[in-house]
């Protein structure tokens, strides 16, 4: 199992709930920032112990590394416009959904040009890019400092929400030495299963890690994704070879930089390998289809092995799922796994063909009156 990113799994939990002062000033943060707080405190974002300082931010933007040379590609920032706080203050972070969340030591208040930030992370300042739009909507000052989690409320699907410490313990108990991580935001079709099982063939176990949280209208609901994976695992995986746990974090759509960030999070969960598909974490045409593969060559010290899949489809000549490295047949024999087509069929209450999606998975989805976010 790889050591956590930066060498140590961060644990920023308050030892006793009585150790904080209730009369400290309170700052309310949005749900995405609240997720960042949780991911910092339970080690998903190791080695970060808080929100980035300016020197770390500059390094991340310029060199894709923290100031101490550890690879890091996505800035984790707390933006704020509150004027009555100053460096050296300690405040309490609260969130509408979670209530009182964490104690935050304000060590540095700084400004940074948001367009420069967006250009470095997203390679564009086009406001049609959702990540750029988010950056440009950030408040004008950033705050660097350490956080300490006071408490986190129990939420839906928390039974599937394992921390890095727990997954590392689990992998050890199962005797897994090599673990491949698969990130998803959709119920599994046959192509996903092919990719997962191909990778699983060469390691001890697979860690299926759906991203749960804010969704767009028309996306599959979180409970549908979890249920469909449970069904797939139950019918088509060896029980002792697959683990599913959710990850609560927002998608940034930063393409290659985000692929590295996703790999780092899975390394912290204890995974040795990470599956990277075509246009990983991309949106629109902002990134080349394999930019998220190429970027890994910049990080020989990343500590997790990327497993690249270029494309996969069903070849009617081969009679099986294939990828571009193993099938010699013309494109006319290839049927792509179209998420859009599968979605349309399911929307109409129809079961997709079994060479697209397992019948048990389709039936699980169709048990829901409304499987999509409305």
């Amino acid at each position: 199992m790889p050591k956590p990113h930066g060498g140590k799994l961060v644990n920023r939990y308050l030892k006793k709930e009585t150790e904080y002062k209730l009369d400290l000033p309170k700052i309310s943060i949005n749900t995405n920032l609240a997720e960042d707080v949780l991911n910092i405190s339970n080690g998903v974002f190791s080695p970060l112990e808080g929100f980035l300082y300016k020197n770390d931010l500059e390094n991340v933007l310029k060199d894709k590394r923290l100031e101490n040379d550890v690879p890091w590609t996505i800035p984790i920032l707390l933006d704020l416009d509150k004027n009555n706080i100053k460096e050296g203050d300690t405040v309490l972070l609260t969130n509408q959904e979670s209530g009182l969340l964490a104690q935050f030591e304000i060590e540095e208040i700084y400004k940074y040009d948001k367009k420069t930030l967006a250009q470095a992370v997203y390679r564009t300042t086009d406001t049609a890019h959702p990540g750029v739009a988010n950056v440009l909507n950030m408040k004008d000052q950033f705050i660097g400092g350490k956080i300490t989690l006071i408490k986190s409320k129990t939420r839906e699907y928390d039974e599937y929400n394992l921390t890095p410490k727990e997954t590392r313990y689990l992998f050890k108990q199962k005797g897994w030495r090599e673990i491949v991580a698969f990130q998803t935001r959709n119920p599994p079709h046959i192509g996903h299963e092919y990719v997962q099982k191909t990778a699983l063939t060469f390691v001890d176990g697979i860690f299926i890690n759906p991203i749960i949280g804010k969704k767009k209208i028309g996306d599959f609901r979180d409970d549908v994704i979890l249920d469909s994976y449970n069904t797939l695992i139950k019918h088509y995986y060896l029980k002792e070879r697959a683990v599913m746990s959710i990850l609560r974090t927002s998608m940034k759509y930063a393409g290659p930089r985000e692929a590295i960030h996703h790999a780092i999070m899975r390394k912290n969960f204890g995974c040795t390998h990470f599956i990277v598909g075509r246009d990983h974490a991309g949106v629109g045409n902002y990134y080349g289809p394999y930019d998220a593969h190429d970027i890994f060559s910049e990080f020989p010290d990343l500590g997790i092995i990327p497993v690249f899949f270029r494309s996969f489809s069903r070849c009617t000549k081969c009679g099986s799922v294939v990828n571009d490295k193993i099938c010699p047949h013309d494109q006319k024999y290839h049927i792509n796994f179209s998420g859009k087509k599968i979605r349309e069929l399911l929307k109409n209450g129809e079961i997709p063909p079994e060479d697209m999606m397992r019948k048990e998975v389709s039936e699980t989805i169709l048990k829901y009156d409304k499987p999509f976010v409305e």
Partner: protein
Amino acid sequence: MTEEKDEKKFTTVSIPTPLAEKIKKRIKGTGFTSLSSYVTYVLREVISGIEEEAEEAFSKEDEEKVKDRLRALGYLD
């Protein structure tokens, strides 16, 4: 970022000139833009496997809670 700030982030390491010349030849036509970027890459690769730190264990009580949770999910017997 100012040049002065940049300078503080780097240090000079001496390597034998013949080795430096060999490396310069080797990196021609590759993605490495300088001798320093190549040497940095190699050293990062070497050093990445070395650093080690002990993992924090669960207390007995917490371990039992985690085990129960993992059993409920069917991940442990």
